[in-house]
Subunit: 203 residues, 2 copies
Amino acid sequence: MRRTKAEAAETRCAVLTAAEQLFFEKGVANSTLDEIAAAAGVTRGAVYWHFASKSDLFLQLYNAAQLPRVDMSDAAGSGCEDTDPISAVETIALDWFGMLASDVQRQRLLTILLRTNFEHEFEPVLQEMDALSAEHTKNMERIFAKAEDKGQLSPLWTPAACSRAVHWQMKGICWEWLLFGRKFDLVILGGDSVRKLFATFRR
Amino acid sequence: MRRTKAEAAETRCAVLTAAEQLFFEKGVANSTLDEIAAAAGVTRGAVYWHFASKSDLFLQLYNAAQLPRVDMSDAAGSGCEDTDPISAVETIALDWFGMLASDVQRQRLLTILLRTNFEHEFEPVLQEMDALSAEHTKNMERIFAKAEDKGQLSPLWTPAACSRAVHWQMKGICWEWLLFGRKFDLVILGGDSVRKLFATFRR
DNA sequence: GGTTATATACGTGCCCGACTGTATGTAAAC
DNA sequence: GTTTACATACAGTCGGGCACGTATATAACC
């Protein structure tokens, strides 16, 4: 029963979704291709048609849902990066919480990635994540530097310190939320904590 | 060739150490009992003598190196919890960094735990970790409340908010350090960030 | 203090299920 | 008719659990 191209694409997508679900629930190593295929409503033959191996499936899963590059110039769209840089970053940070809270797929992917041992074939993924992280902090630092130039930054802080503080605060919040069962309200409690932190940045 | 009790204890310890090392490097699921036994200089027979199963080995590993309960009253030993509560908590936090940075075993164990899927038989471990975490934040909040009573707390913050901020900040720092190859100096950079955060707590 | 009995601390080998990869079949799409 | 998109069957390996063997430590007894 050969399927049309559209149906094949559906199948491929179903396999990816099933893999994401199972990788998230049981971990990558504890999930079998049989389970994944069954969850997708196909057999292992279909999986092997679309993906070369389990590792390939993992990598395709990572590449399919590309992590957002959180372009800081988006904040320029909100129109205040030049007049109130600190608030601009704050908005981006809070928006990120909202986005993550409403995107179950991203929650699962990030959780999987956090639990991954990046050894051997998966190392490039780790490099990418590192690069992305470095880019984010660099962009943030740049905007905080603007705030400093305008005299809006508290003398207690430096742009680099602000950037690191926000970065770590958000990672702490998001990771605990993801790794330990999302037991609190990310937007409310997490947002509150971030807002309080940003308040200390302002002169 | 039966060994003495002391030798047996050594063997057991060697297996635990080898397991910790391999679980850390390759993940629990990707480490075989054969590898672990070989790394410990014994065979699987020895492993099965000391441990009922692989899961049991994991649990014994967790129980062997009990997470520190970071008794906040220890800070009373430093003598300033009552006069300068904020500094007392700050000291505990910074000490924690130093302790983690110098304890490779704890680094590995925490990394393993972070990457663990706590499903089925491992759920109680998750509960324990949660309880410990809750206890820490509660103790911190209590001390910050003392600071508030003394009028030492900035009006920007509440005891609960301080506690959460410190908690998440430290988790963000430690977890990034552990999960992504310890690429920065935990005590220097992490400590600096935490100190700056504490500075904003003070009136 | 020597002998003996028993528990101990493993090593070794086997079984069994599970999982991966591949080869082949097949029916429909093109 | 050929290629596609799977399903099915098969081979092979790997790893965990367990039974069993075995040599020695340890204790009990004489």
